[in-house]
């Protein structure tokens, strides 16, 4: 769903700064292998969020001791995350309401 990936990314890096590959892996793990983030969607999404000013990128040594681009949530990003999460809750609640009663 449009915007859902943004929400997931924001949520995942809200815990700690992370590079793209780790973000994809974390989403897969946290969703119990249900959500497979296509790499094709991940990077454009990251660049868009960075352009929006919701996340910030910096280069740092990765766990395998190589240079990787780590993304951190900014203040604006945190606010956006709260907003997006609330939106999602509302939407999900509404959908499940319909699905259950139908």
């Amino acid at each position: 769903m449009q915007g859902t990936l943004d929400l997931l990314i924001l949520k995942v890096i809200a815990l700690e700064p992370m590079h793209g590959w780790a973000i994809a892996r974390r989403i897969r793990q946290m969703s119990g292998d249900v959500l497979q983030v296509g790499q094709g969607a991940l990077y454009p999404s990251l660049h868009k969020l960075e352009q929006n000013g919701w996340i910030r990128a910096e280069w740092a040594a990765s766990e395998s001791n190589r240079r990787a681009k780590y993304y951190t949530l900014t203040k604006a990003g945190r606010k956006a995350l709260e907003h997006e999460a609330a939106q999602w809750e509302r939407l999900a609640g509404a959908i499940s309401l319909i699905v259950r009663t139908a």
Binding site: H19, G20, W21, G38, Q39, G40, Y43, P44, S45, H47, K48, E50, Q51, N52, G53, W54, R56, W59, S62, S64, R66, R67, A68, K69, T74, K75, A76, G77
Partner: protein, 882 residues
Amino acid sequence: MRIADIVRLRIRSLFSRTRVERELYEELQYHLEREIEEYVAAGMSPAEARRAALRSISGLEQRKEECRDMRGWNLIDNLRKDLGFALRQLRQNPGFTSTAIFVLALGMCASLSIFAFVDAALIRPLPYRDPARLVAVYETNAMFPLSNLSYPDYLDWKQRNVVFRSLDIYNARGFRLSTPGGAQPARGARVSDGFFRTLGITPVLGRDFYPGEDQPSAPRTTLLSYAAWQQQYAGRRDVLGQTVTLDGEAYVIVGVLPREFHFAPVGRAAFWVPFRASGSCDLRRSCHGLYGVARLQPGISLQAARANVKAIAGQLEKEYPGSNRDQGADLTLLSEGIVGDVRPILVVLLSGAGLLLLISAVNVAGLLLVRSESRQREIAVRTALGASSARLVGQFATEALVLAAAGGVLGLASASWSIKLLQGLISDDFLARLPFLDGLGLNGRVVTAGVAIAAIAAVLLALPPSLRIWSPELRRGLAEASRGSAGTVWRRLGSRLVVLELATAMVLLAGAGLLGQSLYRLLHVNLGVRPDRLVTMEVHAPRESYGKDPQAIALARLVADRVETLPGVESVGIVENGAPLSGNGNTTWFHVVGRPWHGEHYDVAERDVSPGYFSTLGTGLLRGRYFLATDDASAPRVGIVNLAFARRHFPNEDAVGKQIASTSTPPVITQIVGVVDDIREGPLDAPIPPVLYLPFDQSPDNDFSLVVRTSRDERPLVPLLAATIRAIDPAIVPLKGMTMTAKIQDSPSAYFHRSLAWLVGGFAAMALLLGVVGLYGVVAYSVSRRSREIGIRIALGAQSRSIYELILREAGRLIALGIAIGVACSVGAARLMRGVLFGVRSWDVPTLAAVAGVLATAALLATLIPARRAASVNPVESLRAE
């Protein structure tokens, strides 16, 4: 993240491209390597793992492109590419590019120049506080619907009205300003004490007039205009308290008016003095010489105020039936009184210029359409290679933007120059009455208007080719040339537009031709005077020292004697009431002795001249004699009449020897001793009225004019004359010294005709150019659409001659139609112009023929370019291309 950071990021994305690009590569590369590691860890061979990873990432380059899109690079990148491509395209076709830019610039230049005037006169608010509440107050009578107030009426209105917060009066007044270098003429105004408070003007220096400062008992004070302060006092602050001598009276300077203040009804008044009622006119209820200005009470409408002053006028009419019979009252908004005269002219000019702008934009759009036609294959190929419609439209929009921007810049630049040119078309006298035009030029509003016009033009120019791209017929563009409805619509619309443009050009050209001819006739009209090597100058001597007849006669003689000794001077004449071309001046009433007379008035212009006057002017004596030095106060009264007088009053008799009597009591009997040729005393284009010349020595005055004939170049004589007169008495003001040739050139009627001829001529030249470009556009479009047909014709053996004929016949039809409509309209327009034409009939066949010839030649030349292209069509190529 703050806005600043976002901006920084964007800018970084745009400018440190290589670094960002490298980081992007590195980031994706890192991801790829981690994927490979993972696959290897899962048991794949390195090669297999790499393939799998690449597959999962599904196209590294596309991913990069997506990331770039996200960063908004492509937009800028495309724009840059489009811009480069547009510039290349435009450079490749310098003929098209320069024509398009030039035509656009022309339309913009015309409309922006006129807009600058409109802005100064109609848009910029008047420099008073809350100008919408200010009204001009008039009395009315049968002859003048808006006439002046008399002072006693003003006092009554001021006291009785209930609608004005304040009511004040003003009138213009010329002063003789005493300076160390001799007396100078100075413009001034008399105002009642509350005048500036009513307008809401506070002096920038010093104080406003006190209430009661306009009473005759108050000391004489004056306010300076800002310009006078700067020019005559170099802006010194110690000017307050200094005195100036105006008309021999000392005035204390009490203040300086703001720089932006102007008040058109009194022109560029330098000295503003309190109105002190004095002299017979100010105190007489029937002497109307003042203008009123008032500020409305809050909540009072113009209508209510008008009703109130009308009611007061009604009361006064009853109370003073002798002086106030039929004296009504009226109000208008003050802005109406200041700019009301020029508004209709400006609105007409602006509409004309706006129309030119529209036509020029449509013409350029037509030219672009021709080009998009010839670029159809390019477009089709680009579409096939994957360019989206948006990309193609973006390309055309960029080209349109470049053209409009270039046209806009050029238009603005040339407008700043043509504004000055237009201002030069207004005579100085008239310009002094339009002070709101001071400092006219490219201001913020004019530039904004220019940018807005350029933006609209860009949209208009991008529209036709974009519509073509969106039209489905283009998709077949590769296979065959589209012959859809859009093209037909343009051909039909374009043809009509061209006919209209040519007809307009014809009307304007004919008008300019007629006006030019009438200007020529005007400048060469028989003056009754030899105008070469002749100089005139006014002499204003103070009444206190030269008011008595013997004083005035002695002064005139002294001036004439001194001037005669100047090098090169052949003869000198004196005239009171104005030298030739000055206007009809004072008139006098008379009747012919020996004819029955029942009190009717015969009005005749009067000039009082010295014996040498006619011989100096070179005016022919038809009968009798010139005046002699012996025709003085002690001799019998004599007069000389002009031919018009003799014809009017003595049609079949000899005027010489007849006697005329004044209507005063006792009557003064004057014997006519001579008849001279008609001299053009008034405007060049006015009929010559009957004139009676009397000897200066029998009717002298302390204000008179000199006419001086020289045997040398007359121009250096003008300052020499002024110096000679000042040397006699520094209190005398020499004024308006000029050569007769300049006087003819600068006379109001010549100015009017010349300005009109230039204005109409300018519009005509633009209309001609636009018509020709429009014609070219339509014909070229038609040729490009018919290249297949032409190719077939040539392939079947048609000679280039017949191809020329084919194209020229099509264009010729449009040209002939345009000229025919133009001729019909020209005759109609010329009939409307009859009032301003001089010595030219409105139905002037040579003018019409010449104009039609010029138009047809220009139009045919414009047609030859596409016709030659048509004739040189290579049949093989054109058929293969289709």
